[in-house]
């Protein structure tokens, strides 16, 4: 070990430490939101009597607070339907974001379908995809009833059989092997 070699290794080690001390916190700072989960929010959307079984009513609630109008979200809410063999007394809240790439879908009462204006996705009354490029059914929000008011909670995604899974972004397949190819993210809430 010559003096020269010792100083070379020493300068590389110290330089590496200094570089890491600057870069790692910066990268951590940028990457941290991936691992942060916000507080669970439940928002009132209307009295129980407002919602019916055979059609959806459009509601607006605040999904992200602190950013004014940009944090609001639209959902379509209805009572659970006995015809479709859903659990009685529950409410179904369907997200208005298309499962293809996130464009806002609209509910067409005449056809009982949801239609996406961007690339022509069509969903049936329960939110299952019946036409166009969407990769899975529409996402839903957890619902509960408090003091006669229907409340809407965190979002979750569903498989093609309408089984709940953790919330995914539009464009990601759900169910089976896709649960591993599109892994659930720490920033989302557990599925009901």
């Amino acid at each position: 070990m010559t003096r020269r070699k010792a100083l070379t290794i020493g300068s590389q080690a110290l330089g590496g430490l200094a570089g890491a001390a600057i870069i790692l916190p910066a990268v951590g700072f940028a990457v941290a939101p991936i691992f942060h989960r916000g507080k669970e929010r439940w928002e009132k959307v209307g009295p129980v009597g407002d919602f019916v079984e055979d059609t959806y009513r459009q509601v607006v609630f605040t999904e992200t607070e602190g950013i004014g109008d940009a944090g609001k979200q639209t959902a379509y809410v209805r009572k659970s339907s006995a015809e479709l063999e859903e659990e009685p007394g529950k409410f179904v809240a369907v997200s208005n974001r298309c499962a293809h790439l996130g464009c806002p879908v609209r509910f067409v009462e005449a056809a009982g379908n949801f239609i996406c204006p961007c690339h022509g996705g069509v969903y049936d009354f329960q939110g299952r995809r019946i036409g166009g490029p969407p990769v899975r059914p529409l996402d839903q929000f957890q619902t509960r009833v408090r003091n006669g008011q229907v409340e809407v909670g965190p979002r979750y995604s569903v498989t093609n059989q309408l089984d709940p899974v953790r919330a995914r972004d539009p464009g990601e397949f759900t169910g089976g092997i896709w649960e591993y190819l599109y892994p659930p993210r720490p920033s989302t809430f557990p599925a009901p």
Binding site: K72, T74, A110, P117
Partner: protein, 233 residues
């Protein structure tokens, strides 16, 4: 490239440089003129076209039709025409990534020392086809309309039916005139000439194949819809 070709190119290049002119002022003059033209074009576009804001961002909308900026129209059109859900990640990530990698690695798989376009047919053809495809896709993306509006002109008695068709979401799967998507349903621009009115009514009520059934529509709307569609010759 073989070392012989590399050497030949370097020699040729030296000779061409000898015969050339100094960068300043000859090339700088051309560059300055072009810079002036670029700035003039930007200023003229700003003065004529302005920079008006649209409506404020509203995540709760259900009527807005999102569209990207014009230089992304070719990607948007690719996404629109790839209908089967299994192919969606291919369109969003697969194709663009493959194209970017091909572009990036171009000098490493194109080792032909020839530079004249007329003597490298593969490269020139591929380049021209790519440009033509991107231009065509951009044009299609620009002219593709919203799935809830039918622009074709119809006689006044069919206006009501036209509104029903536009509002019921038929354009999501059918093309009518310039509007709508090219699949998975057949084009309806001339459907009135192809099948009788009764057949149209039956399709709408049953919903053959993957088509949803529209029998929930009120009878009046069903009649208006059938009138409009059977008038399309």
């Amino acid at each position: 490239m073989k070392p012989k070709d590399k050497q030949a190119y370097l020699e040729e290049y030296e000779l061409l440089k000898k015969k050339g002119k100094p960068f300043f002022p000859y090339a700088v003059m051309k560059d300055s003129t072009m810079a002036l033209i670029v700035v003039a074009v930007i200023i003229v576009m700003s003065l004529i076209l302005g920079a008006e804001q649209g409506p404020k961002a509203d995540p709760t909308t259900t009527t807005y039709v999102p569209r990207p900026e014009w230089y992304f129209f070719f990607l948007f059109e690719v996404l629109r025409v790839i209908k089967p859900p299994e192919l969606v990640p291919l369109a969003t990530i697969g194709i663009p990534t493959i194209c970017m990698v091909l572009l990036l690695l171009l000098p490493f798989y194109d080792r032909n020392p020839e530079r004249r376009p007329e003597r490298r047919p593969l490269a020139t053809t591929a380049g021209c086809l790519t440009i033509a495809a991107m231009a065509y896709l951009t044009y299609l993306g620009a002219t593709g309309g919203s799935p809830t509006e039918i622009e074709m002109k119809v006689a006044p008695q069919y206006e009501a039916g036209k509104e029903v068709v536009a509002g019921a979401g038929c354009l999501a799967c059918h093309k009518i005139g310039e509007n709508g998507n090219n699949g998975p349903g057949p084009e309806l621009t001339h459907i009135g000439a192809r099948i009788p009115r009764a057949a149209i009514v039956r399709s709408v009520e049953i919903g053959p194949g993957i088509m949803p059934s529209f029998r929930e529509l009120p009878q009046k709307k069903l009649d208006e819809l059938a009138d409009f569609l059977s008038s399309l010759h």
